[in-house]
């Protein structure tokens, strides 16, 4: 038994080491020089700054809160984290069904008046960490100098206060105030949900600020580093996009969602009508609506840790291109002449024994007016994420994602401009697991290669290289204690 354990551990350890080495060889040589496109760069890079501002702002917000592992529910129902999570915070099908049913388990322990008076529906999550961020080809003073920038040290993440529970039978609330690491407070989620309308699981309504029904959830996934902690499929916007065009499919949005599911949640749908503010409260860019549709179907096939699920999604959004001003400043809520963009895609959750595969492909298009050029920018993404869930207390993971521009806003722009590749490997171990608290020891190595744009992580100086065809490599190493109480 002991030998078997050691052999198994050895295999996984060497595999991980081999993967790290393989990824290392794929990196470009450091100190690559700029090519002959310097003249074109000057124009492009100046035009990109506004887009990057949006970019980094969006990304920072996305990274500020990505935590929906809720020990308060474990305390309420006396279930271990592993009952609802493949490894927390990722939901398994039982947890998905619990969520779909309005955070009700289906027995009389759901009722708020059944609870012990000492029960308090609040959990807190944060992640003390040590991290190293390295990004090459970063412009520095004096222009046009470039350098590799390394930022390293002990750090903390933001803090999420997770409050979710039942107000009454089939009426649920969710409230997630957040505190960024710099002390900025925010509201990540705030909604009320009415479940099982007409005594049917197919009719549920949620109103407020909430996560979209993404099968591959960014709020519940197991990547924490700057370069690993988001998906290009969800956050990418082409260079030159208008400054007020903020959108992330992984961001929580404000609106109303109608959703439904079969009793075991194998069949699920959701339709959302959303404000055009990317989750920003106060109707800053209002007067239009976005819409999101997602469908998924699971099949009880194979002998893995869960059913096999496939799904599709589509998001049709609108963003303003004009606004009224006072003293030259935009007046909130007066934006108009909204132009459309869309994201469509397909995803799956597949189990091969203890190996979970999460593929996702998507296609995106922005209106000409949003892209800032003469054509509608279009791009495609594909990713494959793999989790090897050795036990409920140990998971090894890897991910590769690519993004390829298929049409540039400006036809004169190089075809590869804006392309991205992202790699990540990681390990999460849970030294204890019971129905009160949770902690994960987290190790992660993530790398991105972007052409013509700075990485979404915003590390380094957060600027593109002078040469638009130079690939920027950005790397994150994160060692952390991720705990929820």
């Amino acid at each position: 038994m002991g030998n078997g354990l050691l052999k198994g551990a050895g295999r996984v350890g060497w595999s991980m080491l081999a993967l790290v080495m393989m990824l290392s060889t794929m990196a470009p040589p450091l100190g690559a020089t700029a090519s002959a496109n310097k003249a074109a760069v000057a124009n492009l890079s100046s035009g990109l700054r506004a887009a990057y501002t949006t970019y980094v702002r969006t990304t920072s917000r996305a990274l500020a809160s990505r935590s929906l592992a809720i020990p308060a529910f474990a305390r309420k129902y006396n279930l271990a984290c592993s009952a609802c999570h493949t490894v927390w915070p990722e939901l398994n099908n039982f947890g998905q069904r619990f969520r779909d049913n309005g955070y009700q388990m289906g027995n009389d322990r759901d009722a708020p008046n059944w609870r012990d008076p000492s029960y308090w529906p609040i959990a807190v999550r944060t992640t003390p960490q040590f991290r190293v961020e390295t990004t090459d080809h970063q412009p520095i003073d004096p222009a046009p100098s470039e350098a590799e920038i390394t930022q390293a040290g002990f750090d903390i993440s933001g803090i999420d206060f997770l409050m979710l529970g039942t107000l009454y039978k089939d009426i649920t609330f969710g409230l997630v105030p957040t505190l960024d690491a710099d002390g900025t407070a925010g509201v990540e989620a705030a909604f009320v949900r009415f479940d099982n309308l007409g005594n049917s699981p197919w009719a549920n309504v949620k109103v407020g600020k909430f996560e979209l029904d993404n099968l591959l959830s960014e709020k519940r996934f197991t990547w924490l580093s700057s370069n690993g902690g988001f998906l290009y499929a969800y956050h990418y916007q082409p260079a030159g996009s208008v400054d007020n065009y903020a959108f992330g499919l992984g961001d929580n949005q404000i609106g109303a969602e109608v959703s439904g599911h079969s009793l075991n949640s194998y069949t699920r749908y959701s339709v959302s009508v959303l404000a055009t503010d990317d989750g920003e409260a106060g109707l800053p860019t209002g007067k239009s609506v976005d819409a999101m549709v997602s469908l998924s179907q699971a099949f009880a096939a194979g002998g893995g840790l869960g059913p096999q699920r496939i799904g599709v999604f589509g998001y049709l959004g609108h963003r303003p291109t004009t606004f009224q001003t006072i003293n030259g400043e935009p007046i909130p809520g007066t934006y108009g002449d909204h132009k459309p963009f869309y994201r469509v895609g397909a995803t799956a959750q597949l189990w091969l024994g203890k190996l979970e595969l999460l593929p996702l492909v998507s296609h995106a298009q922005d209106d000409v007016a949003l892209g800032g050029g003469t054509e509608k920018p279009e791009w495609n993404t594909a990713l494959l994420e793999a989790h090897y869930v050795a036990t409920p207390r140990l998971m090894v993971q890897g991910r590769y994602e690519l993004l390829r521009m298929s049409q540039q806003a400006d036809p004169a722009t190089e075809k590869t401009f804006g392309n991205a590749d992202a790699f990540a490997v990681g390990v999460r171990a849970y030294p204890f697991m019971f129905a009160r608290t949770g902690m994960a020891i987290h190790g992660e190595l993530a790398m991105t290669k972007t052409i013509g744009m700075a990485p979404l992580s915003g590390t380094g100086s957060g600027e593109p290289a002078y040469d638009p065809l130079t690939a920027i490599w950005s790397r994150s190493l994160l060692l952390a204690f991720d705990f929820a109480f």
């Binding site: 038994m1 002991g2 078997g4 354990l5 198994g8 551990a9 996984v12 350890g13 991980m16 080491l17 790290v20 080495m21 290392s24 060889t25 990196a27 040589p29 450091l30 129902y77 006396n78 279930l79 271990a80 592993s82 009952a83 099908n93 039982f94 998905q96 388990m105 289906g106 027995n107 009389d108 322990r109 190293v132 390295t134 009793l263 075991n264 949640s265 009880a300 194979g302 002998g303 840790l305 869960g306 050795a390 036990t391 409920p392 207390r393 140990l394 090894v396 390990v427 999460r428 171990a429 849970y430 030294p431 697991m433 019971f434 129905a435 020891i441 190790g443 790397r475 190493l477 060692l479």
Partner: protein, 283 residues
């Protein structure tokens, strides 16, 4: 390359530490289970048990998981192989299908949720593993479900007869004269492990612990809930008696049912004719 190689050592060392923290050994028990034409294997059920069940039922299946101390009623002790919800005679093992149904359905008024979000294969695999906790399953003998005859039509006479059985068999001593679960003996009841246990309260109208249909209720009378004070009445009642009792008990629930309709009509037509249930009814 210089940058990457300097990261390999710390990442690999970190990974090795995590592997040792999280890994667990895995012996391979050979027990099987069968339900709904699906065969479960204990070896496949073990990781599922350790994911979903171990927190309450314990690593050794003895009902002493980390969370057991906060749970009332206490989790089932699988090492005893005594189960409440069976289709088999009292004192015998349940069928695999009984256990599969229990896992799928969950238990109302306990912390055991319905697990039908798991695949059928997952559920029957878990059942196979649960059977490894007691040697009673090793004999390979197959318990036979009791026969449940067809349900007769609801009638006022049958309900009246059932009511009389409720009185004569002293069901009211635990379940209370009105079915509130507040009979004179209710406060003294314990299960086979001396944990306090409460009789079912018919008036809340929830489903029964072992199902929700009239057939489920019939089965509860005739098999008993092993490990609890609820005995089997198979030796005391004929099938017709049991069905009459089922129909009477339905009238205690605040639900729209044929039994309730029939009973209300009878009460309207016969005001003041009933003797009370309870100690007064025996006089």
């Amino acid at each position: 390359m210089r940058l990457h190689t300097r990261w390999i050592a710390p990442v690999s060392a970190w990974g090795a530490v995590l592997l040792f923290v999280g890994a667990t050994p895995s012996p391979m028990p050979a027990q099987q289970a069968h339900a709904d034409n699906v065969t479960g294997h204990a070896a496949a059920g073990r990781p599922l048990y350790e994911r979903y069940c171990v927190g309450c039922h314990g690593k050794d299946g003895d009902g002493a998981g980390d969370n057991a101390q906060w749970i009332d009623p206490r989790p089932r002790d699988f090492t005893l192989a005594v189960f409440k919800c069976r289709s088999t005679a009292t004192g015998s093992l349940p069928t695999d299908q009984d256990l599969y149904n229990a896992v799928s359905r969950g238990f109302v008024s306990t912390y055991m949720p319905p697990w039908f979000a798991l695949t059928p294969q997952n559920r029957i695999d878990v059942i196979a593993y649960i059977k490894t906790f007691s040697a009673k399953w090793n004999g390979g003998q197959t318990a036979t479900p009791i026969t449940i005859p067809d349900e007769p039509a609801v009638s006022a006479d049958g309900i009246l007869h059932g009511r009389q059985l409720f009185q004569d068999l002293q069901c009211w001593k635990c379940h209370g004269p009105a079915g509130h679960g507040d009979g004179p003996a209710a406060a003294t009841l314990t299960d086979s492990k001396d944990n306090p246990i409460r009789p079912y309260d018919f008036v809340v109208g929830s489903r029964f612990k072992c199902g929700s249909t009239n057939r489920d209720l019939y089965q509860i009378f005739m098999t008993g809930l092993d490990g609890t004070p609820m005995p089997s009445f198979a030796d005391l009642m004929q099938p017709g008696d049991a069905w009459d009792l089922v129909h009477f008990l339905r009238t205690l629930q605040p639900l729209a049912s044929p039994e309730a309709t029939t009973w209300r009509a009878w009460l309207t037509a016969h005001p003041g004719e009933l003797k009370p249930i309870g100690p007064e009814g025996t006089q």
